[in-house]
């Protein structure tokens, strides 16, 4: 008995100093105000559930818990199953696992560049815009406008400032020209095709009668176009001068949380993959072969034989991720620009913000810490019980 105390002693002292005491002190501190002198009872907790800022943080945390662990588990399962079937599995696994070797801070900085709104700088928008423009034509002259909608000769003078373009009456024939009414070096007259002024190729021109498009064409290399003559109006549709699609404002207030979750999945998918791969290796191959012979398609084999046998591993990964996600802090701090930090807020970040970010309300911060502790507790207990059952 005495010897047991001697052996356990140092560990118990350390645990008490580093775990039990801080928890106890945080709980006590959460009952006091920002100055640490005035006892406020549960007022700090009341504030958590009333102040819009912390409510946003709680809501975001809920989004995190719903999305991130499941996405990480699904991505890990996906990679594990695929790498299980290819030749260079180890090399691929290393690449997918590599993000784990990067600090969250560095990953956050990297992803901030990825999510850069300008498609010329952020790869996410560059990809989306490229795909978008493959299916829809990019407006040929974004931001340009017509100098005048009144042109009897079917000639359209275009200048560089946006404005609505309604249309023009085609009087003679159906041909005309669209040109840039600007002479380099100056000296050009408005509405007149001066020497040195260039025709604009690739502009859409429509012939409209009674609000319906009856004919359309695009201007040639010199800006000329030809449409059939008749009783219709010739116009340049707005789509010529519309602003191009520039992708998604990833770090804007509306999608910042899903965007950060995307970065989080990128970091943790490799970890999930490694655990699930290990689980996959433990499944007897013959059960999969038996299922194939029993008439299962590959999808049915995965869903009805592989995944059920992987269940214990998937649960471990998912619960571990839940614990991890509740505590998420650094990635949000680094990724969310200052302006949208309030929209991307999570409990751990809010705790830090109220405690050390100007207000220095350690009482409210402690209350948030206690709340976080209570949220993580069930998941921890679940994992502990599993461990005990397996041990």
């Amino acid at each position: 008995m005495k010897r047991a105390a001697v052996f356990c002693g140092p560990a118990l002292v350390l645990l008490a100093a580093l775990v039990v005491y801080p928890i106890g002190y945080t709980i006590v501190r959460s009952l006091f105000g920002g100055d640490g002198e005035s006892f406020v009872g549960l007022a700090n907790y009341q504030e958590i559930f009333t102040s819009p800022e912390t409510l946003t943080a709680l809501r975001n945390n809920a989004v995190w818990v719903v999305l991130a662990p499941s996405l990480v588990t699904i991505a890990g399962l996906f990679f594990a199953v695929l790498t299980d079937r290819i030749r260079w599995a180890s090399a691929v696994k290393v690449v997918i696992f590599l993000p784990m070797a990067i600090s969250f801070l560095a990953a956050g900085v990297t992803w901030r560049m990825v999510y850069e709104a300008d498609p010329d700088r952020g790869i996410a928008n560059a990809a989306i815009v490229t795909v978008h423009d493959a299916f829809a034509d990019r407006p040929p002259y974004p931001g340009a406008r017509l100098r005048s909608t009144e042109d009897t000769a079917g000639r359209f003078a275009v200048v560089g400032v946006p404005a609505p373009a309604d249309g023009v009456q085609a009087t003679e024939g159906g041909s005309g020209v669209v040109w840039l009414d600007f002479a380099p070096g100056g000296g050009g007259r408005p509405g007149v095709i001066d020497p040195g002024e260039k025709g604009l190729p690739g502009v859409r021109v429509e012939a409209v009668r009674d609000g319906k498009v009856v004919a359309e064409t695009t201007t040639g290399p010199d800006g000329r176009y030809t449409l059939p003559a008749g009783d219709h109006t010739i116009r340049l549709p707005d789509s010529n001068f519309a602003q191009p699609f520039n992708g998604v404002d990833w770090l804007g207030p509306s999608v910042v949380t899903p965007a950060i979750i995307g970065a989080y999945v990128w970091i943790w998918a490799g970890f999930a993959m490694v655990l699930i791969s290990a689980g996959l290796a433990g499944i007897p191959r013959e059960t999969l072969e038996a299922a194939r012979i029993d008439g299962a398609s590959e999808w049915q084999v995965l869903r009805r034989v592989t995944i059920p046998q992987l269940r214990p591993v998937l649960v471990v990964v998912w619960v571990t991720m839940v614990i991890n996600v509740l505590k998420v802090f650094d990635l949000v701090l680094v990724l969310a620009p200052e302006a949208v930090q309030a929209d991307a807020n999570v409990v751990a970040l809010q705790m830090w913000r109220v405690s050390f970010g100007g207000a220095r309300d350690l009482g409210l911060g402690s209350a948030l810490g206690v709340l976080l502790f209570l949220l993580v507790l069930p998941a921890m207990l679940f994992n502990l019980r599993r461990l005990r059952r397996e041990g």
Binding site: T287, R292, R304, P308
Partner: protein
């Protein structure tokens, strides 16, 4: 119920020089129980897995009921397979294990229930239907694996060493159960084993393989009585046949002082100087020294009760050769004794000394 044909079926694993299965030609009749047997690595399991669709066929074709299935996935071949480790789905109950294939085919609930219950009754699994596989004994798991195959009512049963995870006694018992079950169901069965006793007792016909090459296909009786080559002769029968390559005389093979008479045709076919002769341990008699047997010094005696196996060595043309002889258990010789062994009648087998092919 169906016929199965292998037509020059070949399997070559990437990165190997030798074919795992080399131009296998085999016709299996409707309702037949065919056993593939051979030492480990001979390609018997690979042949079965090619038929199952779990292994690619690099050359040749495989037909089931005349239909080319060479490039069909397993699920389109209408076959059922029993694996060595049973491969039961651990997360499903016995009932669900057996119902799985039928569920995938969208069989009606009543029909599934009827067929699973029927198979369970046949295999005495009725009281275990709601258990998970891990709560079953090895023998019960084996029966569930059988049941899973039976409920399918497939065209062909494939069995890959289904008994090798059972203990010896249960194996003998299950062996006869599988054989009679197959007889009652009448479903064409291909059965893989490395155990020649299993092969001999269960198969209508037995195909012996070595190094990916089919050596001989015949009834158990014929395999035993007239093995096609030295390998089959040595593989079939337990204990193994005594096979020695000895000097060829004008009227027979010379085992030291003993002459084993051969016919004139055999001597001619054997060719120059040497001949391989085999006789089974059970086709011998112990005789008195004066009767011209081969003198063998006893090294070991295995008493089996009814019989005794005598292992010994003899000096044959200057070489120490080992021999095995079966005798009556009650009159077994002792260690160190010299016994005189005489092969019985015309039960010896003659092979070409170089090619190993049987000389009739």
């Amino acid at each position: 119920m169906a016929t199965v044909s292998y037509k020059g079926a070949t399997r070559r694993y990437p990165g190997t020089t030798r074919n795992a299965v080399d131009k296998l030609d085999l016709e299996i009749g409707d309702g037949e129980f065919l056993v593939l047997v051979g030492p480990s690595g001979c390609g018997k399991s690979t042949s079965l897995r090619m038929l199952a669709g779990l292994e690619d066929v690099d050359e040749g074709a495989i037909l089931i009921e005349g239909k080319d299935v060479t490039n069909l996935p397993p699920k389109d071949r209408d076959i059922a397979m029993v694996f060595q480790n049973y491969a039961l789905y651990p997360h499903m109950t016995v009932y669900e294990n057996m119902a799985f294939a039928l569920k995938l085919r969208k069989t009606s609930k009543d029909e599934i229930d009827r067929r699973v219950k029927e198979a369970a009754k046949l295999l005495q699994l009725e009281e275990y239907l709601s258990r998970k596989p891990k709560a079953l004994s090895g023998g019960q798991r084996q029966r569930v694996a059988m049941g899973r195959a039976i409920v399918r009512e497939p065209q062909v049963f494939l069995m890959d060493e289904p008994l090798s995870n059972l203990d010896a006694k249960l194996r003998v018992q299950t062996r006869s159960q599988i054989a009679s079950l197959q007889k009652n169901l009448g479903i064409t069965t291909v059965y893989v084993t490395h155990d020649q006793v299993e092969a001999m007792t269960m198969g209508h016909r037995v195909a012996v393989m070595l190094d990916g090459v089919l050596q001989q296909v015949d009834t158990p009786r014929n395999l035993y009585d007239s093995p096609a080559n030295v390998f089959v002769a040595g593989f079939i029968g337990s204990p193994a046949m005594n096979i020695k390559t000895v000097t060829l005389g004008a009227d027979g093979a010379r085992f030291g002082s003993m002459l084993m008479p051969l016919t004139r045709e055999q001597v001619t076919a054997a060719g120059d100087g040497k001949v391989t002769v085999g006789f089974r341990p059970e086709d011998t008699d112990l005789v008195a020294p004066s009767e011209g047997g081969l003198p063998i010094v006893v090294d070991l005696v295995e008493e089996l009760g009814s019989d005794a196996y005598v292992y010994g060595h003899a000096d044959v043309n200057g070489e120490q050769e080992r021999f095995t002889v079966r005798t009556d258990g009650r009159s077994a010789p002792s260690l160190g004794d010299t016994v005189y062994v005489k092969p019985r009648g015309a039960h010896h087998h003659v092979f070409h000394a170089e090619t190993g092919v049987r000389i009739a």
